[in-house]
Structures are given as C-alpha cells and as structure tokens.
Symmetry: C2
Subunit: 460 residues, 2 copies
C-alpha cells in the first residue's frame, strides 16, 4: 500500500491501476488521487522528461474550453496556460497567397496551441508531486487477464516479465489500447475501427529571425485545397508545426510524391507561400512517418465493474475538430463528478459514466469526420464563407437563440450529442435562408429579416 | 508438392493454403482444386466424421438458390439434395395455437433444411476424394505472420508446434477468423463487430411415433412473440431443431429464467403448442449454451495480394435471412468465375473479388438484421400480413415488374445490394398503396387497380 496523502485523511479502500501515463492517464491519476485513492500508473514508454529525446514527432494540440475546465478541476490550468498560445481564428491561405481570417468565436474567444510532449512533461511533474500516485515507466503490458484480474507486464529496461495483479483497472492507453484489446475478446463487445483514405505527415515552418513568428502567431493556419489540406499551429519558439492531410493514393497523394523534387514542385504549386518558410521540407517529408487517421468506437466501456476505458481507448477520433484531447480530459472531469456523487460505488459509477458519455463521444466522432470534409472542401467555397458570415450575424443579433455549432463544441460544456443535434437544426435553418441571400448586405433586407425573425420565433 | 489431378493436366503453379474446413472452406478447396491448384486445407477441430461425437450442437441451416448454384458448380448439389428437406413457407404459430401458412415463393419454391454437421461431413468426403487437396485436422493456427508468410500451427493431438510457410492463404476460418485477426493489426484495416442484445439457444422438438413429424414437415415454423421468437426446422428423423431468440436481459429474457420451473411455466404461457413436443426442454435449456448474435464487417478482404478472406471471416451476419452459408457459398462461386476469367492473376482476382463482393455482403448484413425485426415484430401484425398478401397479388399480376424482396434474396442470383435497393423502392410503393387497402378484396377495387397500374408504369 502506498502512503496516503495527508490532505486526504480517509484511508483509500483499494489501489486503482491506471494504464497509460499520456495526457488522459495523467489527468485521471490526478483526479483519482485527489479523491483519496491510491493509484498505480503504468506507462509503456520511457519517461519523456529524460535526457534522451524519445518522441519522434512534435505534435501540437488545440486546448479548448472542455479541456481547460478539466485541467482547472485539479488546479493545473494556470500552469498549462503559461506555455499555451492563443489562436483567435482560422487564417486561410489561398493558392494565390491571399489570406482570409475567420474569428472562432465572439469576444476574442480562442483555442490554445500546446505541445503534446510539453504538456505531458508538465503533467508528469504534477503526477510525481501528488501523494498517492506511483508512476512507473518502461512497463509494457503484454496481456490483460480479465478473469484473473492480472496484467502480464514486461519491464522494457530489464526485459523482466512479471504478473501484476489489479483490483480496479483504468485503460487510458490510447487508440491501440491493450486493455480494450482484452475486452474485445469477451462476448458481446461491440467494436469498430474505421480509417479515412487520408494519411497525415508532420512538417515544420521554421522560426523567423530572433524567434519571431513568420506567420500570424495567434491563428490556426489552413491551406484548404479541395482534396487535401495543410494546417499549421504556432510554437513558443517562433516555429509552426504543420500537418499535411493528404490522400494515400491518387493524382495528388503520398503515393504520387516519391522524390524530393516532386515534393518541392508540388509545394511550389499548391502551398507557394509556405514553401519558402519550410527549409527542411524534403528531408522531413521522407524522414517523418505517414500516419493513418482512425475512428474507434466500442461498447461497453466497462468490464465486470472493475475495468473502465477512457479517452482514445474508448473513443479515438480524427483530429479535425481539435477535440481528441479535450474529450478525453472531459471524460476525467465527468468521472470525477460521479466520484463526488457516488463515492466508491464503482459499479454505479462505471455504468453511469459509460451510458452518459457514449452518446456524446459518438456525436463528437461524427462531428470530427464531418469537419474534415468542411475544412478540406467547404472553407474555400464562397457560398460557404458567406453562410458562415451570415451565421455570425445571426449569432450576434440573437445571442440567446443562436450559438454556432463550432462554439458549442469548442467554447461551451454543452454535451456533444446536444451540440450535434443543435447544429443539424441550425443547418436546416441556413438551408432555408441562404437561397434569399446572395451577398453579406442582403442579411439586412427587410424580407430576409422577416424570415430570420420567423425562424427565431420558431426556435424559442 | 501434391500430385496433380489427371483431370487437370496443367501443372499447378503454387500450393494454395485454405484455413478452415467448415462449409465454406471445403467448397472453396473443391473449387480451387477443380481449377488445377494444389490445396492444403487446415482445420482446427478434429475430423467430425470420426467416432467421437465432437460437435456440441446440432444446427440446421436453410439452403437456398445461391447456395445450390454454388454447390452445382462443383457438381455436388444432387448429393446434398438427398439429405435436405424442402420448406415451402413459414408456418406461424399464434399464442392461441392458431396456425397461419405463408408460402415463400411462387410455384412451390422452397428453401431446404440441412444439418450443418451432416453437410460438412458429406463435403469432407468429397474433399478427400478430390485429387490435389490435402486436408489436415486438429491444426490450430495460433498466429499468422503476414510479413514472413508463415503460420504458427499447433497440432492439437500431439501438442507439437511448428512453422508452416504459405504462398497464398485463404481465410475461411469463420466469424472469429485467425487470418482476419492478423489483418486487423495491419494499418488501415477497417473492422467492426456489432452484437444484438439477443442471444439464442438451441432446443429440440422430438420426433413423433415411428419417425413421423409432429408438425408440418415442409415448413419453417415460427412462434413470433413481439420481443422474442422461436423457430423450428425439420430433421430427417422426424425431429425439429428449435432456436429460441431471446433478450439477454429484461422481463422475458435469459436472465429472468433461472430455474426449470420458470422455463416450463414460460413455455406453457408463450409456446403452449410446442411445450408438449419438447420432453427435454428444461434439461436442454440449462445444458445448451446461450450464444450471441454478431455482425462482422471489414475491409479490405485481401492483404498484399497473397491473403484473402471469404465467408464469415469477412462478413459474418445474423441468421435471420438464412443467408450466412448461402452468401459464403456464393463467395466461392464468384471467386471461381474470376479464376475462370483471370487464370492465376491473383492480384487482379483478389481486387475484383473484394470490390464486387463487399457492397453485396454489406447489403446482406443489413437485410439480415432487418429481417430479425420483421420476423420478431411484424409477422404477428395483421396490417403487415395484409401487406404481404397484397404484395403476393402484385407479384402474381405483374411478375415482370415485381419480384418480392424475399424472393430476390432467396430464389434469385440478383446481387444482394441490388435486391436491397429494389426492396426499398418496393416498400415505398407499398407505403403509398396500403392506405387505400383495408382488406384483401380491396386490391381488386378499380381505384386501387388504377393506383397499382400507375405505380407499375412508373417502374417499367
């Protein structure tokens, strides 16, 4: 047994095992410990705070309100905010280099660019300072025996294998979860993994002179090109992490770009304004892996009242709404609320958690795929851009009746399933209004205003 | 190398490995051998023709036109027909014991009740007589190494493990396929397994005196009861194999029937006419397993041009349309056609097979789930029964324009996806007609006949 925290005088009833010390695993461990539990936290990889640079890729994530709220729940939001960069909108880069800025929300609302590795390091520091948590690295879970409640663990530094019993197990071990793998072999476990025909590759826009940002710092940059796109998120050092989302096969695809010259020529044609900012382009293009884009769904998320999946392990989504980490963090906050309500009644907590949460993460999975098509195809379409502007006017004129879908997902705690349903109803309204609108100014025309007023009366 | 068949003088280019000597694996091996290939056929279980009674359950299957056509393709349909019992329609058993017969098709069309084990035994006999096939039993495939093209096999009789290389591998190893399991761990393999909240249990209606049939022999019997149902298929010895499809949880469910007295009382209330015919009911109910009902979908079905999935391994479906075996057999016939067209151009054959076949087996999976709800809920609904009768009249009056969906699936070779689309269009027609029809005789009314004629004109 671990020493219990002096701040939590009640003796912990049992040790909880968390698989995975990534972002969700760390946050979950913190929440569980703050509720007075002893936590064993296992991570397959080495400690990423070590001397050796262990991660191959430097990924940026977009923290938004749900993520912030969950971080606040364990009092670590301020520490994270210091290393986050506000992005107040999308900056679209046309083929001709023309820039168009779309603010994300009202009143300077923003999403925040953070480094996955940097955030994970900071959370590991907090985990290690937290009494009641013991974290162990290089622990490869090779098999989960659900019936015997045992883990077959291998220490990757010594090669030593051992049997590790568990009392209650939380799988926060990501999209390729070992815990879920064991549950998948039980009867009546619903499961799906669906890939897009697109892969992604991480690239870099270099910092400007003296660590300045060569593009607008406070924006998420998008180069929408119909069948593919590139995005870029700012780093603290003046550089940007870029991600190219690109078909695996076809005329413009990973398969079609086989030489450094082909890559350069492709970027010169389609991403002309970015190319001069990417001195390592050809090297990175062939050195960095091409990664796939998967949506994972499953149910149930619990097994026999003593195993529970959270985060990507239960609902991996594609990254196009910036909600992968945020939804995993929200899982932790929702679970913590249930801990507050039901104490250690784990059967009830697990049942309520999975039934409350599943419709919401399913909705988020759909929204993320949908946003891929929107970002790729529609943000370059003048009618779509006009519709977005009209929606902005609607939201400004009727703030109580009209919160744009993106804001519901990103800047509110409205359950994802409700946000999706609201968004679908809003889209129907727009489909009725847009035939009457050919330009931004048309919104003010009396007949359009009458239509808008009628729609709003119907909604309230 | 195996000796090549004198009937196939061209030397086989390579040995093909088929995993699974169930119904689909046997038929596939026969087709491949008839095309001049050497075949290694591996089966995990012991030879079911042996002395020991190895299968726990005696399942009946309904062979229909697609299955027959595929059996004819290797000349074994007549041998199978000798042990099959024609079922010319559904016999519905009301709660009050009232019987209603619905013929399946025109002109005495029938589906055929066959014993899975009996059919498998007969096919194994044919496989062993076929030059060019070597079948081995008790061969448990523990791992498939797709990269090295090796199988880790364990001989279940000796416990001996060995590495078995393969050149080209066909996974006909069922819903829990080991071959598919290996493919599932490759990147970008789409996969889903979805369970119904229902299980099933096999039960028996005993033969009457001197091997007579205590119920109509030439029918598939159904006891539809809203939230659950029982079906029965005839055996050659006068008995019937029954299957109870029942919720796992709830008021009337497997969970609710915990004692022999509860089972008897439940059957006495809901299956009163069957109960006296089931002397072993209580024993069987607790001795036989409760099995789950899964739909498996995946894509691609091939890997690196040298591995291919067929049958339940690529598209396991629920049993409610009687098409599981038939669709697997049709896979073999479709593959054989491609072999005829493209010889040994396996990359092309595999690509065409999976792209042609996938939309059809997806449609069949949807139809099977849909038919569950139809059989369970709607066959006891007077309006639905009336609609079915009107559809029968339509089909008789306009045979060129109206083949009922059930007939398209069961008594034709129309691709499943086309059948599903046709069926949906027909259902829309019925939705327009039925408000004008309150009784069977209304079909003859001039205004209804005018509506029908207009619909038919639109369709042709």
């Amino acid at each position: 047994m671990l020493a219990s925290s002096p701040a939590n005088p009640q003796p912990p009833a049992e040790t909880l095992t968390v698989m995975g010390a990534g972002l969700v695993g760390c946050l979950l461990a913190l929440y569980l410990a703050r509720h007075g539990h002893s936590v064993e936290l296992f991570e397959r990889r080495p400690d990423i705070r070590g001397e050796a640079k262990v991660e191959a890729r430097s990924i940026n994530l977009a923290l938004s309100d749900r993520g912030w709220k969950a971080l606040e729940g364990v009092g670590i939001a301020e520490a994270v905010r210091e290393v986050a960069i506000a992005m107040n909108g999308r900056m679209m880069h046309g083929t001709d280099g023309q820039l168009t800025f779309q603010p994300y929300g009202q009143d300077g609302q923003a999403i925040y660019s953070v480094s996955r590795a940097g955030l994970n390091r900071r959370m590991l520091d907090l985990v290690e300072q937290q009494p009641g948590i013991r974290v162990q690295f290089d622990q490869h879970c090779q098999r989960v025996d659900l019936r015997r409640k045992q883990l077959e663990m291998r220490d990757e530094t010594t090669g030593e294998a051992r049997i590790q019993p568990f009392q209650r197990l939380f799988g926060a071990d990501g999209a390729y979860s070992a815990v879920r793998g064991a549950m998948q072999r039980t009867d009546r476990f619903n499961y799906s993994q669906q890939y897009l025909d697109y892969g992604y590759k991480e690239l870099t826009i270099a910092a400007g002179p003296k660590g300045s940002w060569p593009l607008e710092k406070h924006a998420l940059h998008i180069w929408p090109r119909g069948q593919y796109m590139m995005i870029a998120l700012p780093n603290l050092d003046g550089s940007f992490n870029c991600t190219l989302f690109f078909p695996y096969e076809g005329a413009n695809s990973f398969a079609a770009l086989q030489t450094p010259a082909q890559v350069r020529s492709f970027f010169a044609e389609h991403f002309a304004d970015a190319l001069p900012l990417m001195p390592e382009l050809e090297t990175e293009f062939f050195a960095n892996p091409t990664s796939s884009l998967v949506t994972v769904r499953c149910f149930p998320w619990s097994h026999a009242d003593d195993v529970l999946l959270l985060g990507d392990a239960s609902h991996a989504i594609v990254p196009f709404y910036g909600q992968g980490m945020n939804s995993g963090f929200e899982d932790c906050a929702v679970l913590a609320e249930l801990l507050g309500e039901h104490g250690s009644d784990w059967p009830r907590i697990m049942r309520r958690f999975e039934t409350m949460r599943k419709p919401n993460t399913d909705a988020m999975a759909d929204l993320a795929v949908y946003n891929f098509y929107e970002m790729r195809d529609r943000v370059a379409d003048p009618r779509f851009l006009l519709q977005k502007k009209i929606e902005g006017k609607l939201a400004a004129q009727y703030p109580a009746q009209w919160l744009p879908l993106y804001s519901q997902v990103t800047f509110s705690q409205i359950p994802y399933a409700e946000a999706l349903a609201n968004g679908q109803a809003q889209e129907q309204v727009m489909q009725r209004l847009m035939p009457h609108i050919q330009a931004e100014a048309d919104y003010e025309r009396p007949e359009v205003q009458a239509l808008v007023a009628a729609e709003m009366a119907r909604r309230s």
